[in-house]
């Protein structure tokens, strides 16, 4: 059972990573003048969209946390709306934090906001899919012994890796190499993406290696 679930997780994560890679490779064939660095904002939109749809589809297909109760349609709608609001709020929050970290306040607002959207896609959206609009569950997951399933462990790892990647992505900005990818926010969004992908790969491996130590509390 455990092994099978880890394998499912690995498959899902590989699909997500593939989506990110395809979001960079496919559009040049469909869109004129698309390039990862040249039309970076388009790429951010495409990548966020791809990852978001794939996450939602995977969530619907795999159903990692089936709730026993059947919910009414109205309840589902309100839940969905709540999710949207949460997502939007997390974008705003990320935007604020990025600006507080030193991003330009007035110029390049679109760039900063799209970067915040990308970060939210990598972190908040997954939380929303897995845990629903339930802040207290989120708080629980992101603490030491809070993960209750391998899906939640994976969520922990990928979110942290994305944030860490974005953080490290800020490092090359001041260097005087004059490379096109040093422009705000390209290095950061690339860092976040690489971090996310690394997290996707690391998570199943880490869970596999630590499967003896990992004991999830049953509900």
């Amino acid at each position: 059972m455990r092994e099978a679930e880890v394998r499912r997780l690995l498959g899902a994560n590989l699909l997500r990573a593939l989506a990110v890679i395809l979001s960079a490779l496919l559009p040049p064939f469909l869109l004129d003048g698309f390039s990862l660095l040249g039309t970076h904002l388009t790429w951010i939109c495409v990548c966020s969209l791809c990852v978001a749809t794939l996450n939602i589809v995977l969530h619907l297909v795999l159903k990692p946390n089936q709730s026993p109760k059947r919910r009414s349609f109205a309840h589902k709608i309100s839940r969905f709306l709540k999710c949207c609001i949460y997502f939007f709020m997390s974008c705003i929050l990320f935007h604020a934090i990025i600006v507080l970290y030193g991003a330009p306040l007035i110029e390049l607002v679109t760039e900063t906001f799209l970067f915040a959207v990308l970060l939210s896609t990598f972190t908040t959206l997954q939380c929303l899919c897995l845990l629903g609009p339930n802040i207290q569950a989120w708080i629980r997951v992101f603490s030491k012994n809070g993960a209750m399933s391998i899906w939640e462990s994976s969520l922990q790892i990928t979110s942290m890796c994305s944030i860490l990647g974005a953080w490290f992505g800020a490092f090359p900005i001041p260097l005087d190499w004059d490379r096109p990818w040093q422009v705000w926010p390209i290095s950061c969004s690339l860092g976040a993406t690489f971090g996310y992908m690394a997290g996707l790969i690391i998570a199943p491996l880490w869970i596999h290696w630590n499967r003896k130590q990992l004991t999830y509390k049953s509900r």
């Binding site: 934090i97 600006v99 507080l100 970290y101 030193g102 306040l105 339930n134 207290q136 569950a137 708080i139 629980r140 992101f142 603490s143 030491k144 012994n145 809070g146 209750m148 953080w167 800020a170 001041p174 260097l175 005087d176 004059d178 509390k217 509900r219």
Partner: protein, 1074 residues
Amino acid sequence: LNIPSRWPVVLFLAWVCFLFFAGIGLFMSGFLLTRIELASSSSCSDPLVPPPWERQSLPPGSCWAPQRFSKAVLVIIDALHFEFARFDPAKTSPLPYENKLGVLHQLATAQPRHARLYRFRADPPTATMQRIKGLTTGSLPTFIDVGSNFASYAIQEDNLLAQLVQNGRRVVFMGDDTWEGLFPKKFFRSYFFPSFNVKDLHTVDDGILQHLYPTVDSGEWDVLIAHFLGVDHCGHKHGPDHPEMAKKLTQMNEMLRSLVDHLGNDTLLLVAGDHGMTETGDHGGDSEKEVNAALFVYSRTPLFGSGPPEEPETIPQVNLVPTVALLLGVPIPYSNIGEVMADMFAGDGDTVSAALQQLSVYHINAKQVDRFLQSYSLVAQDLPAEQLQHLQELFSSAVEEHTQLLTQVQGTMVPPELEPRLGSLISRFQHYLREARAVCTQSWARFHPPRMVGGCILIASSCLLCYMASELAMSSQSFCHSCLLYPLFWGPVGAAVLWLVHVFTQEGLDLLLVSSWAAAVSQLGFFWHWWGQHFKRAPWLGLAFPMGILFFRCGAMFSDSFVVAEARVTPFLLASLVMLLVGKLHWDGRLTVPEGPKQQLLGFSSYRREIWYLLCLVAMLLVCVRLSSFFHQCREEIPQCRPSVFLSPLASLRNTRAKNLFYLLCVALLAGLVYAVQSWLRHYGNLNSSGPLVLFVRWGFPLVVLCIACYWAVASSADDSLGKLQELVQVAVVVFPRAVYGLASVGLLLLLCNPMTVFAKDTRESAGSIVTPYLGVPGSEVDFLHVIPQIYKRMQESQKSWLERGSCRATIAAYGLGSVYSAALVIALTLLGFLLMLLHSERLSFAFLLLFVEAFVLLHIHTCARAEGTRLAPCQPFSVPWYAVISWLLAASQFFYSTGHQPIFPAIHWNAAFVGFHLDHNTNLLPAVLVGANTFASHILFAVGCPLLLLWPFVCEMSNSQRKKLKKESREELQEVEEHMMEMRLRESPEEFSTALLRLGLKYLFVLGAQLLACVCAAMILRRHLMVWKVFAPKFLFESLGFVVSSICLLLGISLVMRVDCAVSSWFSQLQLR
């Protein structure tokens, strides 16, 4: 308990500081070579000129020696390595940089008496600016030429251009705009092009080529200088071994070919490289490839007496200056130490007349060098005396022989063996000039790697010592014996041994070597005695996260881009550190309510209430950090940067309404600061006593603010047309700042004399109920509501004996005893803040407000995190965690930038030296102190405030317990009182208190020292880097000065706390006596 060990703490910290200072000094003496610039300059009428019989023959327009050329063209090709200029027809497959300057070879072979190629040895540092200085002053510029004016790069020393201009020559310049800063307003006409962008190969060269030939043809010039940068930039961008370099050199070849065609017969052409380049295209250091440049000389009339030697002669770069000066008939610049190139003075005559001519220029040259050495040795002692003595002997004997020979020559009959005697005399002058140059080179132009490495090791081991000592679990008594007294003993012993060695071997010895030797020996002593001590391991994982941030901070010192961008790097790291702290607390589950069975069932956790408080604090901190970035100064390395508008003084604002608005805001801010400090003190009951200090806080603070406000008003309207009030304004501009200085020093003195801000009320006199003493509180009834009485339990105990004798029950109510240490520090910080704000421009007081708010928020975050951390796992209350110290220091360097500073010399606020002093200073000390205080304002404030990191959690204890009290009324009285002890807990265990202070100080010094070590290592390892003199060396200087200032202020802050402790002790003993 009665004799707390206060002195060893201060002594130990002072000793550690001394270790660091010795390391800094040792490194600096090996790295930063200094030289003093002399203000004197040569003139035509100087008594150096040859004897009168020869003088009469000087043609008009000549000084010192007959003019040979009326015009000269100096083409400087930046980084023209000798190999670039050499032409070897035998080479079949030349590298991209070889055999490209064919025109030089053609001229030299076709007209051997007209043209010649030399190896041109540049002196390190081989940076362009220093080389230009060397090429024009004939001296050896070091990194710091101590001149009269630090603020601009302009050359103050006597130089070739100044001489030319002084003697009425028209100098036209085109090319590198570095010259604009070095020689402002010296050029008859100039075409400057930006040199900063190393990636740009063509702008400067194409610009010059556009103007070069028209200018040459127009004839409106006497000396033309063209400085080409393309070759250097090509080296930086591609390296020498690249096709681009071939293109660039071919372009230069074409340029020279057509330039030669444009020249007239009376024109001297000089083509010179200012330095060479390494295989990677860099320069700056002293490697063979970097110093090996090329010089090519050409004239249309025959210049040399004989054909060229087989192998091109090697001549030092400074030799160009006297040669060109005498050829053009102007005096040699005063500080020149170069030697004339004699073969260019041979002329057309026979060998004897040629030798006589050469002898006369050598004589002039030697006299000038001797004059320079004598006046230099009067103002500086860095040239060794015995060598100067030796030089003096050489010179006087040569001059004596010269005079003898001349009299013989004059007496019509030709002396026997004239030629060999002339030859030997010339070589004696040569010998003198070369010796003189060697002596100067030795003390001005060479790094001392052993000293640099020694300094580096000393700083590194001091850092290690700080870390070890701060982790050492120690009881003070044994500690101070083994780890302080013995090392202090070993230090002088080491110094004495060195002195003995010196006595026996007669080696050179200076104070710096002795002190660093003593430091090293005493450090060894410490480690020797420390070896026996056991010390507990700190958990590595817990250390990893603050130390990781520190590691990034130190790593950033090794990249010039990060040093340039440090103003943005430190806030980033500070924000990351605080976010990580909160994240870690959350991860450890410190912020969530422990899961009860019910919540476990539901599967969620909820936050404790305090978390919102913590999150608000963090948000405030982030906002402060972000806002502080609006006060940054700019560096020239970031061309698109615009300096903050807040940096300029209000007087420069044109818009009157804006000016008034800003002025009112600034004054309101000052008043708000005073109000905040007073209400903080009142809140903790420190504003009730009637002591002089409290009176000063009540009435002196507003007075200080009033004075500052008046000064700002007067200073910002000084330019307006005030007419007859002008004189009054002049007086006021001086009087108000002096009043502030006076008031602030009075306040600090009061603080030192009587730092107690405690109001004690004895209930024995009015033996009524407990309520009655409160009526005696000074201040209104409203104040009384804020005043929280702290009943000090220990006092009762200490009074027990007395109480037993006297039968009546009595207590003493002491107001403000719980925060007596912090109150003293807060008062000191406020006073210092006023002083430093006065030294900055008006609108930077916003930055200071941010500084105070941020420090306050940081302290609260630290307290909060500690409280949350200790809730589950109680830890030692007396140790300050690393993250707090590191964040405190990050904030300090963040505000260095946010008070409008940058670690470069042009960014220093020089006008701070004239706050309160009207353009006259008798000594250099006072302006240095004022400018230093201005530059290191944030270092000073944060270092003095450092003990607050230890005290604050105790101060904030009360509010927490109060909240608890509200919740649970039924609490035991005893525990209640215990909760109220606040800072008196520290007094209860004086041993631990002083140990905690010592540890805090050591941690602070460790973090400071780690940053310094990174700077020192960067400067040492990257001493060949292109940016070493522009980025790393200034950064190192500022960092080490900042270290000195910070460590001294840290000592002062800790001593202040000790002083308060003494006062509290005596206060208690007085109580006991009563």
